[in-house]
Point group: C2
């Protein structure tokens, strides 16, 4: 049962793609939900069947051009992935591999002839494929992967080869079982010239599912989660690939071997290619937050009904959510979850607007990539933390597969390291900020450029990332550092987030500049000694991006009661974020000890104020019970059935309730 306010909250959160979210809630019925306790084989069989049965209304393939069966709606496909994540994360990843990574690469890196030949089959799910980028030896440092593709003009073919064990493609979704084709990333070599990493469309299995000659396919075996995804390993032993199969949008090889590209610089070209795949990261971040919402819904609803220990003033036992410590864990996580929802919606909107506009201005492209990287890292880490605390908040019940939480935790766990390791991504964000986005996505050996970075940043001014005029007005409305400013002044929150980021960045620059002078003989140390500082600056930046998106999003809300509630939630997000880093704020005199204590008191007041709204806030996420699929949320009757083993059902039913 959800109250009216919850429905109106949901409408706000549903955002621009509300129609897709509604369609998913209708079309993705119990047939699609998780099955606790499946074996790996059962899960793989079920998921590879279901992935082809996802109703088109859900919009998973909306991102492809209409002419090939898509809907020219990339934002829609990212939102569709989020909804799948709440139904079954294996299904979401399987779909993400097929249409996001594999299909997305063919579309973004290929040209007309590839599109016409392959997109229809890929979109229909007739041609299942892999995104073969990561190698055992090179995950984060993709630019240095070792698979080679040597061009032979005489045969007009490439010789695709895995030079040694550590160069095999690893953790590849769709490889172990279903993949017929693969987009393989390899070092393109023509004659003596190496042209850097390029993508090739390669058949890896024949019609009868046997590996093609020279292709060795292994199974990554059991994993922590995502049992329904057939991750595998692929090695190539001098496999012949037709010239036409080079996905040649950004680099072409003529029959005679002449190499041409619109982007002269190899590194620049490489990161431009990667840039076209940014949607994957956006989808992973959004899916992680979607899973966290499911976990919070389960834990909060359980905490509303589960009672433990009696209060001194009554024989009635106390519901878990009434305990301050319990509320603190769940409500602050709820506030973060709301904040990230607005940030994600904004990112998807901005990205899809940019894509709709055709050619994206370079600087804008870099900013979106940076935001996607930062939000992916923050959302996936937050999901891991949040789901863990939700599982603990449900006690022993939270450990049982029938209550969903173990699956949510295990399935999303890998999100912190795939589609870019979170630490590496945050470092990318940090370096982007240091160099004012210039070359942020150049190769990661930014150490050498530290000194340069220092120059760049001296006149750095933080750019507001949302509702600029509003944010500016709010910030200017409050005196800086005044102890007198009200703790719930939004402008104060914004300036606290801003000043922290600015100060951290400037400090990093100072240290880098000093290092560039004193450590000329140890270039690696110049950056490495400041790594923690740069990472702190990056996450401070993402915090600001999130708060600005939250503030801008709330401002847009017309529905007064909903807006009032969201304002409180925004207060809680801002204040609990400041509280969590109060050490830094005091260290840098942005917070006096007295005011720091006041912040904690204010957080606790908000927890009391929002206590009656906990249920409303999770209902606002709009996750259908069928998707939650948790036994502890079902009627006692159902649970009894779950408990009594069939042969003792009779005895079980004889148990008569007293009172």
């Amino acid at each position: 049962m959800t109250d009216d306010l919850a429905d109106r909250l949901r409408e706000v959160l549903d955002g621009r793609w509300a129609h897709l979210r509604r369609a998913a809630r209708q079309k993705l019925d119990s047939r699609f939900v998780t099955v606790p306790g499946e074996t790996g084989d059962q899960a793989r069989e079920r998921i590879s069947r279901l992935v082809r049965e996802i109703p088109p209304e859900v919009g998973v393939t909306a991102g492809f051009p209409a002419e090939f069966g898509g809907a020219d709606d990339p934002g829609g496909s990212m939102v569709a992935t989020e909804t799948l994540a709440q139904v079954d994360l294996s299904l979401m990843v399987k779909a993400g591999v097929q249409w996001g990574l594999f299909g997305g690469a063919v579309y973004a890196l290929g040209t007309r002839r590839h599109h016409e030949a392959w997109l229809p089959g890929i979109i229909a799910g007739d041609v299942m494929g892999c995104f073969a980028m990561t190698e055992t030896g090179h995950g984060s440092d993709v630019q240095r992967l070792r698979t080679t593709a040597v061009y032979h003009p005489e045969t007009e073919t490439f010789d695709l080869h895995t030079p040694y064990e550590a160069a095999r493609k690893d953790y590849i979704g769709n490889a172990a079982r279903d993949g017929r084709m693969a987009v393989v990333f390899a070092q393109l070599i023509v004659g003596e010239r190496r042209h850097g990493v390029h993508a090739f469309l390669v058949p890896i299995r024949d019609d009868r599912g046997r590996p093609m000659p020279g292709v060795t396919i292994g199974d990554a075996g059991a994993k922590a989660g995502l049992l329904g995804v057939d991750n595998g390993r692929i090695a190539f032993h001098h496999v012949t690939v037709d010239r036409e199969m080079l996905l040649d949008r950004y680099g072409q090889v003529a029959p005679d071997g002449t190499y041409t590209s619109s982007i002269a610089n190899d590194t620049r070209r490489f990161f431009t290619m990667l840039g076209t795949l940014v949607r994957g990261r956006v989808s992973v971040g959004g899916s992680a937050s979607a899973a966290a919402k499911s976990a919070l819904t389960i834990a909060v609803r359980y905490g509303e009904s589960r009672r433990q220990f009696t209060a001194p003033d009554s024989e009635r036992e106390v519901v878990l959510n009434d305990y301050l410590a319990h509320r603190r864990k769940l409500l602050t996580a709820l506030a973060r979850s709301y904040a990230l929802s607005f940030a994600q919606e904004k990112l998807v909107r901005d990205l899809s607007d940019a894509l709709a506009g055709g050619e994206i201005e370079d600087r804008r492209q870099r900013e979106l990539e940076s935001r996607a990287a930062g939000l992916k890292a923050v959302q996936t880490w937050n999901a891991t933390r949040t789901i863990q605390l939700c599982r603990e908040a449900c006690g022993g019940a939270g450990y049982l597969a029938e209550n969903r939480l173990p699956g949510l935790k295990a399935d999303t766990d890998v999100f912190t390291t795939f589609e870019g390791d979170n630490t590496v991504l945050l470092q990318l964000v940090g370096k982007g900020l240091l160099t004012g986005y210039r070359d942020a996505f150049g190769s990661l050996d930014g150490w050498g450029r530290a000194a340069f970075a220092a120059e760049q940043v001296r006149e750095m001014v933080l750019e507001r990332t949302a509702a600029r005029s509003l944010i500016t007005r709010l910030v200017d409305a409050v005196p800086k550092r005044g102890d007198s400013v009200g703790l719930t002044e939004r402008g104060w929150h914004l300036s606290m987030f801003e000043e922290r980021e600015k100060h951290l960045l400037e400090g990093a620059v100072r240290r880098l500049r000093r290092g560039a002078e004193t450590k000329r003989d140890r270039p690696f140390d110049i950056f490495n000694d400041v790594q923690d500082h740069v990472l702190a600056a990056a996450s401070a930046h993402v915090d600001r991006v999130v708060l600005e998106a939250f503030v801008a999003g709330v401002e847009e809300v017309a529905d007064a009661p909903v807006k009032a509630l969201l304002d409180k939630v925004c207060d809680l997000y801002a204040l609990s974020t400041i509280e969590a880093d109060k050490g830094w704020f005091m260290e840098h005199e942005r917070l006096t000890p007295a005011r720091a204590k006041a912040v904690t008191a204010a957080v606790n007041d908000l927890l009391t104020e929002l206590r009656p709204r906990m249920r409303t806030l999770v209902d606002g996420f709009g996750v259908p019970d069928a998707w939650l699929n948790a036994a502890i949320l079902r009627e006692e009757a159902d649970r009894q059935a779950v408990m009594s083993s069939a042969d003792h059902a009779a005895a079980g039913e004889e148990i008569v309730p007293i009172g």
Copy 2:
């Protein structure tokens, strides 16, 4: 390969029960280690077979009296459990249920006749049993469990009954498959009188494994981890239990129904009974830390060989452990792991000395129970955090079952909520401190006693928990709050930990006293509004207990180089703990902003200094490779075999390494 220093470190960590740890390393061969990717049935079959094959030298049953087949060495059995935890956590839990909980209850709560009749069979593993305490509706609040045992004088039997669904026993190990007997906790009722919770030894299956009449047994089904443990649900429908089967050490029922007990107060008797089961918590805490050591060993060794990204000054790629951010995560976790090792060893020693001494003085018993509760909570939470970061530190490889980390995470996850929910346990510790241990283990409705607590604590003086004279000397040697004091002055660390605990406790008392006056009408709120404060005081207390044990332990070390290394590790533990809570220390003027920054700088210096010792420190844990059982630690050759699916091995082998 471990260096000489590592061997000497290991000897120190092995502590008083080194002989058992050595025996385990020898006797627990590859036959006992985890099997990645097993189904639940396979795991249960394997574990219930192996649990009976654990070599006696390992000492799992050492805690029982020699006359029945034990070795009168309770400390030994707790240490043995830790070693099992590094081999296979399902095996550890299965053994813990059989000999720790089930056997332990029969021994501690039963009397001579129970011991003679049952202990030999239990110790031999012929009589497998359950510890049926937790109910679906009552886990943490065990005192209010609902199962009833009504005595009938005419038949001299108890009528054991599950009044309704939520009163069924739940999550019970050994129930779903192997258990023949169960120690069942139920409300004893004689005539009109209720005597509180008592334990009964009850047959739940017949010789052919069928549930006894009136007993309904269900399967808890799939879980996040511990696949080898057959957790189940038990309900009793008016089951007749012979009078002799009451475990009557603390409460006796005469044939005519006359009830007698050496402890008049029901609550007091109940917690005395629970107190005898403290070993379980000690074993769980120690096992969690043991598992964290396995995870750290895997992550640190991987980080020593895994390279990613090239430094600007060389073509050679950088090993992960050289990155500041990576080192920060792993080395601070290593320091915590060492600190907790010393605290655990001390707890086991103190507890086993106390038990050896026969009757334990009441106050001492409460202190040991409190320390066991606090260390269980801190160690299990730390294990969850540490294993998670180790899994992330290994990237995609850390997500594969073949690399062990997923199993370590999933298997230990439940430790945070079983054998007492961590938050409830910390609250127990907090209340114990507030009331100066008096009645700490009385029922948890301490709210009413808040005012009383306030009185107790006014003249509270913290008691040093280890090497009193040494600690006192160190603390007195440094001026309080002097910015001049060296950051690595042990006395300064100790006094920082001490002052934080004392201040938090006194603050909680002040707030409770105020609440007792202003909230007379809302007794629940008196305590609840201060819950977060009390929990903070409790964890500050545990931090101090850990630091004092670490300091005392290092002091005992004769081997100079080992001692020097451990001193550095202790510096890192103390300073990173202070850094993590620097917000509090600044809020309460125990740290100036400048000094707080200096602490961070000092931590980073220690990370650089200890960097060359990372491998030594994990080798010091002495976890055999066979137990680690992680593919990423094996030779490339092995890994190749893992990769190539048999039918393509040939092709796989043809892959020739280049240069």
